[in-house]
Symmetry: C2
Subunit: 229 residues, 2 copies
C-alpha cells in the first residue's frame, strides 16, 4: 500500500468517526482532520472539499460492503442468501453503529440535491440487488425456490426492505434484530419451495460466522492446515 | 372551526410548502410565515419555536394520514388491506411529493436527537402497524390468510417495507410504482391462502378510488340517494 493509500484510508476512517460524532449536516473538514494526526491542509490536498470527500467516502463504504458480503457462508444458494442478509443487517451496537445509521440516513436525504452522492448510492443499491438476484436465480436452478420466482423482483423487494430496516430503526426506534428475523422468515418460509429446507444459523446476530460454519468447514479428517503449511 | 384552528391550519399548510421548498435543515420560521398572509410574530405566538412547530406538524400529518387511510375500499379484509397500502404508497407527482418525501426523510434522521419528533414518528408507525395488523387478523378470521399467519409480524414487515420504499426512492431514485406493485404481490400472492382470491384494482396509482369502487357501490336498484334526501 502506498503512502497516498495509507493517508486516504486514514482520512476515510476519520470521516467515519467524525460523521458518527457530528452528523452529516454539521461535520466539517476540520472535524475530520482532527480525528487524524494529519493537518487540515493535507485533507484539502487529498479531497476537493466536503462534497468530493463524501463521494469518495461512499465509494470506500461500497468497497467495504463488497468485502463483507462477497462470500457469505452456506452450502446452498438459499443458505448463502440468508447469510448475506444476516450479515448486512447485523445487530448495531448502541454507540457508533446507531450513530452511523443515522448519519447515513442524512446522506440519503441529500441524494436528490447531490448527483455525486446519488450516483454512488444508486450503485450500492444496484450491487446489492444484483447479489441477491444472483443467489435467488441460483436457488431457482437448484430447486430451492419455485420455478416461477422472479429473481429481480425478489431482489428489489429485499433491497427495499433493507432500506426500511435502517430508516425505521432510526425514525421509530424499532429493533433491528426483530426486523432481520422477519426478513429471514420471508426467505425461509414465504419464498422457499414447499419441499425445501434451509439452515438459518450460519451468521450470528453480530454479523460474524457462527460455530456452525466452522464445524462444517472442519471435518474430522480435515488436513487443510497441514497442506497449507 | 375557530379562528385559532383556521390560523393553525394555515400555518400547517405553509409548513408543508416551505418544507418542500427549503428542506428541513434550512427552513426558517420566516420562510413559513412568508407562505401565509400572517406575520412571523403571529407564527411565534402560536408555536414555541421550530421544534414545537415541527412536532405539531407531525401531529397534523398523522391526523391527515388517519383520514386518508381510515376507511379503505374493498369488500373483504384482504382487499381493504391492499387498498390501504396502495393509498399510502400512491405515485408521487414529480414536484412537491418528491420534495416532501425527501424533507420527511431529513426529519426521520433527526429523530435520535429530538424526543418530540421521535415520539410522534413512533406513534405514526404504531398506528400504521395496528391498522395493518387489524386487517390481517380479520383476513385470517375470514379465511383469506392461512390460520398460522401472525398479524403483528406481517404488519411490522409491511411497515418496514413502506419506510424502505420512501427511503429508496429518495436515496437511489427507485420507482415508487414498481415498489408498490411488489408489495401488492406480496400480499396477494405470498400471504393469501391458496384457495383465496382478491381484487387489487380498487385504488388507482394516484391513491384515489377507481371506477371499480363506484360500480360496486352503485348497484342498479340503488336508492340511497333518495333515502339520503
Amino acid at each position: 500500500m502506498s503512502d497516498t493509500d495509507d493517508t486516504e484510508t486514514a482520512f476515510m476512517e476519520a470521516t467515519y468517526c467524525a460523521l458518527c460524532e457530528y452528523g452529516y449536516a454539521d461535520v466539517t473538514m476540520q472535524d475530520i482532520a482532527d480525528q487524524t494526526d494529519r493537518s487540515k491542509a493535507s485533507l484539502h490536498y487529498h479531497f476537493d472539499g466536503k462534497d468530493d470527500l463524501f463521494q469518495r467516502f461512499l465509494t470506500y463504504l461500497h468497497e467495504d460492503f463488497r468485502k463483507r458480503t462477497g462470500d457469505p457462508p452456506g452450502e446452498t444458494p438459499a443458505e448463502r442468501l440468508i447469510a448475506l442478509l444476516q450479515t448486512v443487517l447485523s445487530t448495531p451496537d448502541e454507540g457508533e453503529d446507531v450513530q452511523f445509521t443515522t448519519a447515513f440516513l442524512e446522506i440519503k436525504a441529500q441524494a436528490p440535491y447531490n448527483e455525486g452522492l446519488r450516483d454512488r448510492l444508486r450503485r450500492i443499491d444496484e450491487d446489492l440487488v444484483a447479489a441477491v438476484a444472483d443467489l435467488v436465480a441460483a436457488g431457482v436452478d437448484a430447486g430451492e425456490f419455485p420455478a416461477e420466482t422472479d429473481p429481480d423482483e425478489v431482489a428489489s423487494f429485499v433491497s427495499t426492505y433493507l432500506h426500511g430496516t435502517w430508516t425505521r430503526s432510526v425514525a421509530a426506534g424499532c429493533d433491528v434484530d426483530a426486523m432481520r428475523e422477519r426478513l429471514v422468515e420471508y426467505v425461509a418460509e414465504d419464498l422457499l419451495a414447499a419441499d425445501a429446507s434451509v439452515r438459518t444459523d450460519l451468521v450470528a446476530p453480530d454479523g460474524t460466522a457462527t460455530d456452525a460454519v466452522e464445524q462444517r468447514q472442519k471435518s474430522p479428517d480435515d488436513t487443510s492446515e497441514e497442506v497449507a503449511q
